[in-house]
């Protein structure tokens, strides 16, 4: 995951070491229980050239992680910002608790949050962010410094971008493709997770019903002479079989979490696309504005009013304006055209930069995704193999017992 020399992860180790339940008053003065996570950082090479000063080990709430991520999202619009673990347990199968304070859920979230911090810390741009560093190392005043950056002013883009989406005239092919891909990925993974939860449910059922054999074999063994011992011990193996599903499914949950991360990554991809659209939209607006002004200037200089307008009406009613007036208006227009032209240039280069940087980001993301998901699939397959081996073991043991009957 460490990619650049500059990445923070080269210099320090990051851990989300612990979680703790706390109770306190929230903003509307209501009692609430929440979980906080302890972030620990220490220099990667102890004793090596001083490195970075290491500060506190702050406790952070999930909502603070959310704030950090929003900040990064706004500040680095071209970056595919790593997602946070799910806010609420989704795609659960019935045996899994959907309670946010459930220890298993908290533990999985702790791992997810750690993963998030590592990903941010290994990113060339994000890892050098001051606010991020403060988040890791300063217990107090972090929230205030985030809010001071005024990122929220820029963060109102959601609504704007929505309208931009429908108005962009020349959408970039690369980004429309990317958007389509992230939609496909999103629906594929969410479908997969949904079905996996159902499969897990059913598998749980199959294994647990086998557990009944354990009970009935041992009861039955009580009335048998020669068969008794064999039945009794076969029953134990059935108990083992039924219990083994808990571990299997717990392990599988890890795989689901990996998939979930990529499900949430699709949102990050969409966000990049949205920002590009917004930028494209602004560029197009600036170009249009410039074209408008240029047309006005032309009208003014030629004196011809091609289109019916209020101005044309007024000039007819109140007579021609004086040459001085015309002169000054023309000058103002010239000036405004000049700034518009500059604006368009700026926007153009901004857009180009965005394209360049975001495209690199997307490329990096795709490589990471291909590599990690491939590994996830392999480890899933290995998990299946170990499940099969367990099954073979149990049934072979049971068979031996049956054979002795």
């Amino acid at each position: 995951m460490v990619e650049r020399e500059t990445a923070l992860l080269r210099k320090i180790d990051i851990n989300v070491a612990e979680s703790e339940k706390r109770t306190g008053k929230n903003t509307v003065n209501m009692q609430e229980t929440y979980t906080v996570y302890l972030i620990e950082t220490r220099p990667a090479d102890a004793g090596a050239e001083g490195g970075l000063p290491v500060g506190d080990s702050p406790w952070r709430r999930y909502s603070e992680f959310e704030l950090l991520r929003t900040f990064l999202l706004v500040t680095y619009p071209y970056v595919v910002v790593p997602p946070l673990p799910e806010k609420r347990a989704e795609f659960v199968w019935h045996r899994m608790s959907a309670d946010n304070l459930d220890p298993d859920f908290v533990e999985r979230r702790r791992m997810g949050l750690e993963n998030f911090l590592m990903r941010v810390a290994s990113h060339s741009a994000l890892s050098n962010d001051k606010i991020f560093y403060q988040f890791l190392t300063e217990e107090k005043g972090w929230r205030e410094s985030v809010l001071e950056t005024g990122f929220q002013d820029k963060a109102d883009s959601r609504l704007k971008s929505l309208s931009a989406m429908f108005r962009v005239k020349n959408p970039d092919k690369c980004f429309t493709d990317l958007k389509q891909y992230s939609d496909e990925l999103n629906s594929a993974i969410s479908h997969l997770l949904r079905v996996r939860a159902k499969v897990a449910d059913r598998m749980y059922g199959v294994y647990k019903v086998h557990g009944n054999y354990g009970r009935v074999f041992s009861e039955w063994s009580a009335i048998e002479k020669e068969m008794g011992d064999g039945l009794q011990s076969a029953g134990h193996h059935m108990d083992t079989h039924s219990a083994s599903v808990d571990d299997i499914l717990e392990e599988e949950e890890h795989y689901a979490d990996q998939l979930k991360e990529y499900l949430f990554y699709t949102d990050a991809l969409r966000s990049v696309c949205r920002k590009h659209e917004l930028m494209q939209y602004e560029l197009e607006m600036a170009v249009m504005d410039l074209a408008n002004k240029k047309q006005q200037r032309e009208e003014l200089t030629s004196g011809a009013v091609r289109v019916f307008s209020l101005k044309g009406m007024s000039s007819k009613l109140f007579g021609q304006e004086s040459p001085e007036q015309r002169e000054s208006r023309l000058a103002a227009l010239e000036l405004s055209i000049e700034t518009s032209e500059e604006g368009v240039l700026d926007k153009n280069s901004e857009c180009r930069d965005f394209m360049r940087m975001s495209w690199e980001e997307v490329k990096r993301f795709k490589e990471q995704k291909d590599r990690e998901l491939r590994e996830a699939l392999i480890s899933y397959a290995i998990m299946q193999i170990s499940m099969c081996k367990k099954g073979i073991q149990v049934w072979s043991n049971a068979k031996e017992c049956f054979n002795k009957m």
């Binding site: 891909y181 496909e184 990925l185 594929a188 993974i189 479908h191 997969l192 079905v195 996996r196 159902k198 499969v199 449910d201 059913r202 598998m203 059922g205 199959v206 019903v209 086998h210 009944n212 054999y213 009935v216 009861e219 039955w220 009335i223 020669e226 068969m227 064999g230 076969a234 995704k369 291909d370 998901l373 491939r374 699939l377 392999i378 899933y380 397959a381 290995i382 299946q384 193999i385 099969c388 081996k389 099954g391 073979i392 049934w395 072979s396 049971a398 068979k399 049956f402 054979n403 009957m405």
Partner: protein, 455 residues
């Protein structure tokens, strides 16, 4: 004697089959003390007893000599010599190895018959034997369920002291099961085969003339009405037997208790097996969709396409393996459980009849004792007959019980072992699918890293 008798026997059961027993039935109603049937069970020790039953049959059918064939010990000796090497897989049966098997039956090849009156299935019943009371060494004919039912009824009537193996259920819930579906016919065929084999392996039942008729006669002359009457008579008798036994030997009480518990356990096993099948079916539905989701996802990926398709392939292999497993379970496990539930019923029936027999004996004995005190007459023959009957009942029952226990042990050993085997097999199939996927993906990965290293 037996050689002389053998000649007409090939044809004899056709007409004879109903005669001795219908006669027995007739005598039974006027003389409800059951002396008529009392003798038949005494042949549980093989040779002599058959004679006893035959003697009676002879008497009842006005001396027709055909029934006098005893399951001669001479022939059984001969068979022992001839067939010793022939003991195949079925020789697992404890009794088959101590007693010689000289009668082999199979039920197979179901056929559907459609006529204007009815639609029904017949099964081929093939017999191979060296027994002397069979005219030919081989027979092959077609029987339908009704015929099996007739045979069982006849066996029950003529050998009331013996445990008659159960037939598969006669009535199937309409609409729930299609009586003519391949699956149903196959299951029933296997159960009928099992039934007939169990009868043919039984040291006493296998010599029953009705079995002979069933196996050899072109046309069964069934008179079911009479058989039905017998049943009614019996149930009337049973209703009257509310008498409490003085001293029921503990072993029979233990048998009853054993049967009750075993029945309960079988019921639970059956429910578990059914439930597992249901869960597996539902699992399979989800698993199929699961596989297709991977395949669908593969469509929108480039370098992930191969691993995703690989997973889809593995999942579908697992689906296939699961399907096989479920099918095997429902075909092998469930029928055996059913058979034993029915078996328990037969066994309980025999126990009940034994109790009745004891009750009758005790009742008569008590009456006789009272009379003896009054007028000092000796114990009447009637009471002695009753005692005999009870004793042979007890002996038959014990022998059948032992036999049944041993069969049961073998059957369940085999059944459960094969269940474990099938599960192992299922996991092995899945494992090998996943393993080949992993090795394929890991090879690719190694190649890729090599390539990047070269770049």
């Amino acid at each position: 004697m037996s050689v002389g008798a053998a000649a007409p026997r090939g044809l004899q059961p056709v007409t004879e089959a109903t005669h001795p027993l219908s006669a027995a039935q007739e005598t039974l109603s006027p003389a409800p003390d059951g002396t008529a049937i009392c003798h038949i069970p005494s042949n549980n020790n093989g040779s002599g007893g058959g004679g006893g039953g035959d003697k009676e049959a002879t008497a009842l059918t006005n001396g027709t000599p055909v029934e006098t064939s005893s399951p001669a010990s001479a022939s059984s000796l001969l068979n022992r010599l001839q067939l010793d090497d022939d003991q195949d897989a079925d020789a697992l049966d404890l009794y088959a190895s101590t007693e010689t098997r000289d009668l082999f039956v199979t039920v197979d090849d179901p056929k559907k018959h459609v006529s204007t009156m009815e639609t029904y299935i017949t099964y081929r019943v093939s017999t191979k034997t060296t027994r002397i009371e069979f005219q030919l060494p081989e027979y092959s004919l077609r029987r339908r369920y009704q015929d099996f039912d007739w045979l069982r009824m006849k066996l029950e009537d003529s050998q009331p002291t013996h445990l008659i193996p159960p037939l598969p259920e006669k009535f199937v819930m309409k609409g729930v099961v299609d009586r003519f579906s391949e699956e149903f016919v196959e299951t029933r065929m296997k159960a009928l085969d099992k039934f007939l084999k169990r009868v043919a392996d039984h040291p006493v039942l296998s010599f029953n003339p009705h079995l002979n008729a069933f196996l050899t006669a072109k046309d069964l002359n069934k008179r079911q009405g009479l058989a039905l009457l017998t049943k009614v008579g019996e149930s009337v008798k049973q209703a009257a037997g509310g008498y409490k036994l003085r001293g029921r030997p503990a072993e029979y009480s233990a048998m009853g208790e054993y049967l009750d518990t075993f029945n309960q356990k079988l019921g639970t096993l059956d429910r578990i097996a059914q439930r597992i099948l249901k869960e597996q079916t539902e699992y399979l539905v989800e698993l199929r969709e699961y596989g297709s989701v991977y395949a669908g996802w593969a469509g929108s990926e480039d370098s992930l396409r191969q691993p995703l398709e690989g997973v889809a392939g593995c999942v579908s292999t697992c689906c296939g393996a699961m399907e096989d497993l479920s099918e095997n379970m429902s075909q092998d496990l469930l029928p055996v459980l059913r058979e034993y539930v029915l078996y328990i019923e037969s066994m309980k029936n025999v126990l009940k009849k034994r109790d009745q027999s004891q009750a009758e004996y005790e009742g008569r004995l008590e009456a006789a004792v009272i009379r003896k005190q009054e007028d000092k007459t000796p114990v009447p023959v009637e009471v002695e007959k009753c005692q005999d009957r009870l004793e042979c009942f007890n002996a038959d029952l014990k022998a059948d019980w032992e036999r049944w226990q041993s069969n049961k042990r073998q059957d369940f050993k085999q059944l459960l072992t094969s269940m474990a085997d099938k599960n192992v097999n299922y996991y092995e199939k899945c494992q090998s699918a996943w393993e080949s996927l992993v090795s394929m993906l890991q090879d690719d990965q190694a190649e890729n890293t090599n390539e990047t290293n070269c770049d």
